[in-house]
Structures are given as C-alpha cells and as structure tokens.
Subunit: 403 residues, 2 copies
C-alpha cells in the first residue's frame, strides 16, 4: 500500500524515477522561441569581429594627446572618416586622427577614441583635441563581447526573445532543441460531456481536456486529445495503452466516482509501475503517478481546480524533467488582502487575484464552495499554505505563483 | 524642440495619445490561449445546472437525522443509488435515503448529504446515520458557481489556461478576442547584415529584427519583417510608409550613426506627428515615438540591449494600449548579489540573472562593456535604478522584471 506523500517527496520522486530524454532536433531561429535547448551553445567567432568605437568622435593615438587641455589643445591632422559597415583601411600617421561614428571600425595604429564633445574641428583639415585620450579609451575590442568557444547559452534554457537575439548575433540561425513532448490527455467520468454540448441533469461539461491542453501548449508541449472516456475500465485501459504507445506522457483526469479512481490506479499498475497514490495537498489529494518505462502516467483529480493546481505543481515539473528544462518559475511577493484559514494537516493551495494597491502588490484569495469556475476564471496565480500553518492573517506577505 | 521625457511621462503620453482599437474576431477555444478578450464574458446558464453532492455519502432529509449519534443512529430506508451523469429522479420518502457519489445529483426532497464515513450500511436495506445532517450540508446548489448573467471574465484579459477551462465549463467554445496586432519591424544601418551571413570588417549582424520578432510573437502580436534598410532616407521613408500602410504599428530600430537617427525622426514627422524624442533611461535614450493617425511609429535605439529594454518598457505597453489589454506583469523580489553603481541623472536599466540561494532569490547583475550578447544571452530579467539613486549596495532588495 502506497502512502500519501508530501509535495517535497513527490518532487524528489520525479527526480529519482524519471530521466531526461536525450533527444535533439534542429529548428530555425524563427521557430526557436520557447523551445528547450538540448546542448550548450558555444560561439564560433568573435563579436565584434573588429575593434570598434563606443562613441561618435575621433580615432587617434592616445600619446599624441597627452597633456592637452581646453587651453592647449592637441592639434591633429584629420585624414579621413570611417563609414559604418566598412573596414577601416585608412592609414593614420602620427599626430593625425580619423572621424569615427559609434560602432565604426578603429583604423590600425589608433588606440583610442575621443568623444566629439571634447574636440573642435577647425575646418582647415585639423582637429583640436581638448581632453587627452588614454590607450583603450572608448574602444570595444575584437572579442570583447564574445570569442570562439565562449558558452552563450546552457542546455536546458527555454529560449526567450533576448536569447534569440544573442544567437542571431553570433550567426547561429538554427538551434538544437528538445523535440516537443507529446502528452496524451484523457478525461474520464460518466457525467462528462464535451464543452460544446448542452448538459442534461446530472451531467457536467468536460473542463479538464481543454484546460490541460491549454496548459500543455502554454508550457510548450504538444497535447494529444483522447477525449472523454466513460467509467468503463476496459475502455479506459485501451485508451491509456494507445496514448502511452504514441505519446511521451499521459495525463488521465479522473471523474469523481470511486470506481474511476480505482480503475485508474489498476490500469497504471498494469501498464507500468504505480509510484504514488495520493499527495498531501488540498485540493489535489487523489493524485496518482505511475511509470511505464520512462513514460509517466499521471492521474489527476477530476475537480478542475484541483487538476489545475496539481498539473502546475507536479505534472509540469515532471515534463520539465523529461526535457532537462531549467526551472525559471519564481513567485511574486504580495500582501494578503484578507485572512485565509487552513487547518487540514496538508498543504493548502488557494487561487488568488493580484492587483497593485498604493504601490504595493495585493493578493486577494478566491473563495468558493468547490466552485470550479470561481476558482479558475480570472485567477492570476495561487499561493500555498504549509501543512503546519493554521492560516495567514490579513496583511501577511505571501509568495504568489503566477499562472 | 521636444524634450527628453521621463519613463512615467512616456507611459502617460501613451495613454493620452493612443486609443484602444475596438476590433473583435471570434476564435475557437482551442485557439484562444494568449489572446486578449474583446468583451466581458457573461455566463448564459447555471453551473452546476442541478443540486449536487460534495461528498460520497447519502442524500436525505436533515430533519430525519436530528438527534442521532454513534450510540443512537437514525435508521433510514435505502431506496436507491444516484449514478454519475444521470438525473436523480428517485422518489425519496420520509425516513429514507439514497446513495450519492461526489458530484452526483441530489434527488428532489432531499436537503443534505451525509458523508459515508458517518454512516453504516446494515445490508438489510437500511442505513444507520451516526451524525445528524443539517439543511444544505455538503450540497452544491444549482448556480452556486455560476448563474446566467454572471461575469466570468472581463474584457482585456489575456486568456490563460485556467480561463480556457472556465469558458469550457459554461459551454463557451468560441471567444470574442482582439485580432492580433500586425507590427512592422525595420532594422536600419549601413553596417548591418542578415544573421545568416558572415560579417566583413566593420559589419555586424542584425540582432534587432529576429529579437524584436520573437518579443512580439511572445507578446501575442504578429511581427511583419521588412528586413534591413541601409542608411538612405528615401529608402527608409518608402519602407516605413509601406509598413504603416499594412500594419497596426511600426518599429524601426536605428543604426548607430547620427544620420539614421535624424532620418528616422524626419520620416516620423513627415508620416505623422513626432511625440517624443528621447527617454531619460540608460540605456535607451535615443528613442523616438510618433503617431500616424492611431498608428504608432516607434524608433528604438540600435544597440540590441537598449532596443530590448525600451521595447519591453514602452513598446509593449503601447501595443497593450491598442488592444485594451489588462496589464499583468509583476516583478519578483530578489536580493542583489553585488553592489551596482548608477549616477547618470536618468533611470538605469540593468539585465540580471536569477538564482535561488539558501531559499532566497538572488539577482546577479550582468555587467558588460556595451556587450550586446553578454547583456542579453541567458538574462532572466532586468532591474531598474531610479534617476535619483546613486547605486544599490550588495544585499539590497530589488524588483526584477521577468523577461
């Protein structure tokens, strides 16, 4: 008999029981946003690939300006202008300078750039330098930003827009990423009908299939819908086995009846190994987890709010484990708008809305009598109250996890 | 002559100068994730549409159990079982009960459900109730969660997975959303080459086009690439006019040369009205903003890190304004890993990485000598130092904006 596990134990179980799938596919940079890097990315070249100026001004030899000042400018011969995008092949003799725009290439022999604000063009082919340069001043040297072999991004990174920019900068227009995980979604329960049908008495629309599909898509996985399966163990087993065949993971969400719950755990035991039967969270306790090879079978509670929380807290980290995805989910700190009770001997999860009040972020817990829509619609995130905490007073600082 | 504006002034300018485009299109729920609701969504029906049990147990009349206890159970006749997904048409006489699963319909006449834990099935057609019920106990009434006319989600909401679930629950399988904004992206500068070409001396790859396209896609807009335009005012004007014709907004990002910057502001003045010439942020000062009708023309700095920050801080809020999108970007609180200087008379923006250290979130500022990749690659977010602040000490609490 498997015992109910704490959230920490479940996360450890995920680490020990599942391994990262070492799979790679190459995608074009335009398609790489949100994908998980499969390998470290190293630069193969220098950025910049030439010494460039960090200012609009004059490239020159610092030593030719030592000792100059407003009162006693260094008078240098202007021998040309560097154009953006062109190499700087101008020969600059001693006591001479070249105009260079920000980002322009520094001609050989010059060792600094003096900002135009500290110069005066006399219009007769000479320029007065009013402030001495120093070697390296206002220069960005070849390879200052990146050099061959430098690690740009690490494996596991979920590619963000800034990363796409960095890859473009070093000419990497294809990236090795993890193939998207295919995740089968099955809803079970005799009372369920598809969302586009009108419920008769005793019937409820299937919320979990579209919600979990959206959650998986948002995460970057590919949901594969297997629809609603009635409370028929043979049928459910058949669907689960089919899903397991063609997917990397399968999420069942159970109906409310005891029959479905037991069937799901029997099916998971048959198809693989049952690892977990119950998590000490409220809502979300009737969660089961199994493993067929390295493929997880996750049985979520039927109640949509519970299914949502458990999917966020445990199913997504499990999928992240399969991808070797770097965790980047940080809570925001907010002040609790009203007191919130808890007294269940297990961690309590509560949806909330966020709003800025008097320059401070306020979290308003969403209360409902098992109301699925009230708990979900418009929620900005959720907060957690530890199992040993009997509740939080109004004004308490809380960590809110976005969703 | 337009003065450099503070960030707050720029955000106010956006509010006063641009209005929300009252456009709507209907999308199927499967396509609605991340889209912006164009209208409030009201329910047209009851959820649940019947009185249901919140527990596994027996539906009965509370008054038949008043005064019962472990020692003196109320003995009720078991007259049937409610099945999941079926209406509860069983007639329940006085002093009788019906088995009902969690979520099952409550038969007419019954006014509460007693948990199975507080009952005993004697196996002879009678059930002992060991704890008295009370009217309404363990029931979810018709419309408890949602009733016709109740607002489920408000206009401006960016649809999250939980919202998709809520819409499915009330049978809304198509949602009225804002059409995606089409945003033209133009990079300018003689030194720029496409990312898939090898730079010659003096040339740099165009980072801003792919980076801004990814940022726009991530935001939920549709980027339209107009490629790289050399520093030729007539050509740039032609491209900008073409982009303005077929897009809702146009983002130019300027090369480093003074010529390009001036050209962009002349072009914006010609095509519409120049509203802004410079923002008091570092990096990001050379930002310009214009308006042609209600279409914004945004001129970003050429340096990719500056372009990135300005796009996040000002261009995306401007696009959100055009959509009437509800702002949902909250910073995370972190501790600064090392001191960070600032002394520029304008707000300083600094990229940083986040990591959890000793259970606390730590922000490591990314330092670089104008290094574009170092500032972008792997950055988790950015922090801002106010214009009147001379720097932050190690260990200071900072707000980090995700990216």
């Amino acid at each position: 008999m498997l015992e109910v596990k704490t959230p920490e134990e479940v996360l450890r179980l995920i680490e020990t029981e599942f391994r990262t799938l070492e799979r790679t596919e190459n995608v074009r940079l335009e398609e790489a946003l949100g994908r998980v890097l499969a390998e470290d990315i190293r630069a193969a070249e220098y950025v910049p690939d030439f010494d460039r100026s960090a200012v609009d001004g004059y490239a020159l030899r610092a030593k030719d300006t030592f000792g100059c000042s407003d009162a006693v400018p260094a008078i240098l011969k202007l021998v040309g202008e560097v154009k953006m995008g062109e190499s700087a092949e101008i020969q600059v003799p001693e006591d001479a300078c070249v105009y260079v725009p920000t980002g322009g290439a520094i001609p050989p022999g010059c060792d600094c750039a003096v900002m135009i604000e500290y110069t005066e063009d006399y219009g007769d082919g000479t320029v007065g330098i009013l402030k001495p340069g120093a070697p390296g001043m206002n220069l960005i040297f070849r390879g200052d930003d990146v050099f061959p072999g430098k690690t740009i991004l690490k494996a596991g990174r979920v590619l963000a827009p800034q990363d796409i920019g960095a890859l473009a900068a070093v000419g990497i227009t294809e990236a090795p990423v993890r193939p998207r995980l295919r995740v089968g979604v099955i809803s079970t329960g005799d009372e369920l009908i598809p969302a586009d049908q009108a419920p008769g008495s005793g019937q409820m629309r299937d919320v979990n299939s579209p919600m979990l599909a959206a959650l998986l898509a948002d995460f970057g996985a590919e949901p594969v819908q297997y629809g609603i399966v009635a409370d028929d163990e043979a049928l459910l087993r058949e669907k689960a086995a089919a899903a397991l065949q063609s997917c990397d993971a399968v999420i069942l969400s159970g109906g409310s009846s005891a029959g479905v719950k037991d069937a799901a755990s029997r099916i998971i035991s048959d198809l693989g190994e049952l690892l977990l039967h119950g998590i000490a969270v409220k809502p979300g306790k009737p969660t089961i987890l199994g493993r067929a090879g390295n493929k997880p079978l996750i049985g979520l509670p039927g109640h949509p709010a519970a299914a949502f929380f458990v999917a966020k807290l445990f199913a997504l980290p499990l999928l992240a484990r399969l991808e070797g995805r770097e965790e980047r989910s940080y809570p925001v700190r907010a002040r609790l708008g009203e007191s919130l009770g808890a007294n269940h001997g297990r961690m309590q999860i509560n949806a909330c809305r966020l709003a800025t009040e008097n320059g401070e972020l306020a979290a308003a817990p969403i209360r409902s009598k098992s109301g699925l829509i009230a708990q979900l619609a418009g929620a900005d995130g959720y907060l957690m109250i530890g199992r040993d905490c009997e509740g939080l007073p109004e004004g308490a600082e809380v960590d809110v996890y976005w969703s």
